[in-house]
């Protein structure tokens, strides 16, 4: 079966600097795939490339067998909002919640593309069951939520549109270790229960690899390692470079 998301030899340049060099990877339907790497490795650039926020200098990206991004020479990539309609939901880095809206209103926004009011209500209840803390805070302004709660809300909001795949950009950023663990457990559960394919970009290599089935390691804009997550956890190089052992 063809992978849900396949990235072929993409290159991204910011002026003279090459942020991504001939990166290829694939995400199969139903998988949790982790991309690990240090600061400045190009992780966020890769996600931006997938959602059409940065132009490709080479290569192509396809989703469900359909080309969504190619290098600028041929044609423009599909804009972000249309990708959302195709079933890719992005949880942006730094959460990007609508801070002045209540939790419930944020979730309503997540369901912007869903026209069926009943389905939205059902999905909201589902999310409140899944993240009980959000249910308790549904009428609160998101600004007043803690970082972890905001992150959960950002994930819940992305799930509101019933996407095929969610892209998570650093879900553990700036959160307490216990909260991060909780969030990664939820991510695993989302994958199992909601049947959503997850593509995870994270600096916390251990947690990311534990939560995923397949992992990629990005260094200076190139994929240096690609294996099953367990194998990466056992890999000496990964242990030395990312797990601090």
């Amino acid at each position: 079966m063809a992978p849900l998301l396949s990235i072929e030899n993409i290159t991204v340049r910011y002026g003279a600097i090459e942020a991504l060099h001939q990166v290829s990877m694939s995400v199969d339907e139903g998988d949790v795939v982790a991309l690990i790497g240090a600061n400045g490795a190009g992780k966020s650039t890769l996600l931006k490339a997938i959602v059409g926020q940065v132009p490709l200098a080479g290569g192509s990206i396809s989703f469900k067998g359909e080309e969504v991004c190619t290098s600028a020479k041929h044609k423009k990539s599909v804009p972000t909002h249309l990708l959302a309609a195709k079933g890719i939901a992005l949880v942006p880095e730094g959460r990007h919640v609508f801070a002045d809206m209540t939790v419930e209103e944020n979730l309503d926004m997540g369901a912007f593309l869903v026209r069926d009011q009943e389905a939205i209500e059902k999905k909201k209840e589902e999310m409140y069951d899944f993240f009980p803390i959000l249910g308790a805070r549904r009428k609160q302004k998101t600004r007043s939520l803690s970082g972890g709660e905001q992150q959960m809300m950002a994930i819940a909001r992305a799930l509101m549109s019933s996407p095929h795949m969610i892209l998570l950009d650093e879900p553990g950023l700036g959160l307490a270790p216990l909260v991060v663990q909780d969030i990664f457990q939820k991510i695993k559960l989302i994958n199992e229960e909601e049947k959503v394919t997850v593509f995870l970009v994270e600096q916390n290599a251990r947690l990311a690899l534990k939560a995923s089935s397949k992992g990629y390691c990005l260094e200076n804009g190139s994929i240096v390692l690609a294996d099953s997550s367990q194998a990466l956890l056992d890999n000496d190089k990964v242990r030395a470079a990312y797990l601090g052992e």
Binding site: V51, H81, S161
Partner: protein, 310 residues
């Protein structure tokens, strides 16, 4: 004195229309724009040209003025799409000045003796201010209800999402460009209708009256009343207009120079920013997907804001 109050009410109505348009751009979608004087100018000229040069009715000029302004709003919205905050502010300021300068250079005198607006044989003249007040405020009410419906609709929600966080809006499937240009176009259209009424009242069009200060004043009305709060911006229009004509009102226009009003409303704004930065009536609360019927909505809109969302 009474006459003068009536004049203020008329101008407050005209500026309330402008402020509603500015609110659509700045309050709902969050784009800091400073070219409402330009839209006002285009609406005024459209009315002047249609009523005088072409000799057609005022009622025909009204939609045309709105359409002309909307078209210009669209043309301004497209190139400024990628600009944000102060950059957008400066770009729109320049575009507003371009519109005024074109008008000044084409005909520095402007237009005079434009025929009056007529309805069933009745002429709306500046002598009988009451009828003009009714005319203008009818349209303010229409605009108020239309934009209120808009703000609580799916479109309004999308606009608010764009204002709050563009990245999040995009990743939720909202076409940011579409809503930004759309709100510019709508805001411009209503600014054009304000120009139309101004022309119908003064019966002249003078290019000198569409300065940058007009745009600043309209923006002040929105900030003063409460961004995104329609009742607030109408109140803001009243207050600013009142301050504007205060020296004449108290009969001290010979003592207090005209510029004093600018100092006063500068002061008012500073005090506002310190004491109540969200505006007199505060920002809007996002009451969308309102389950109430239209009748209930109209009834409730005359009551105090409901406690439902509080």
């Amino acid at each position: 004195m009474l006459n003068f109050f009536q004049l203020i009410i008329i101008y407050a109505g005209i500026y309330a229309l402008m402020a509603i348009g500015q609110n659509c751009i700045t309050g709902n979608t969050g784009m800091l724009s400073l070219c409402h004087a330009g839209f006002f100018c285009i609406g005024s000229y459209a009315t002047g040209i249609i009523c005088k040069t072409l000799g057609l009715s005022f009622w025909f000029s009204l939609p045309v003025a709105a359409l002309c302004s909307a078209a210009v709003g669209f043309l301004i919205g497209v190139p400024t799409l990628r600009l944000k905050g102060d950059y957008l502010c400066i770009a729109t300021l320049g575009l507003g000045e371009i519109i005024r300068n074109i008008a000044t250079n084409v005909n520095p005198v402007g237009m005079m003796a434009i025929p009056r607006a007529e309805l069933f044989g009745y002429q709306f003249s500046s002598r009988n201010k009451i009828t003009f007040i009714i005319l203008v405020w009818c349209f303010v009410l229409i605009a108020y209800f239309l934009f209120r419906q808009l703000a609580h609709s799916r479109i309004g929600r999308a606009m608010i999402a764009v204002r709050e966080d563009e990245v999040a809006a995009q990743s939720n499937g909202i076409n940011v460009a579409k809503y930004k240009i759309g709100s510019f176009t709508l805001g411009a259209a209503i600014g054009g209708t304000a120009g139309c009424f101004a022309t119908a009242y003064t019966l002249t069009v003078q290019p000198g009256s569409y300065t940058f200060m007009v745009s600043v004043m309209v923006l002040c009305m929105v900030v003063l009343g409460g961004m995104g709060n329609l009742k607030g911006v109408i109140l803001g229009a009243f207050i600013i207009e009142f301050i504007q004509y205060f020296p004449q009102l108290v009969g001290l226009s010979s003592v207090i120079p005209a510029q004093a009003s600018q100092i006063i409303y500068g002061l008012v704004l500073v005090i506002m920013m310190i004491c109540r930065p969200q505006g007199i009536l505060g920002r809007d609360n996002y009451r969308y997907g309102d389950p109430r019927s239209l009748r209930e909505k109209i009834r409730d809109s005359f009551k105090r804001p409901s406690k439902k969302e509080a």
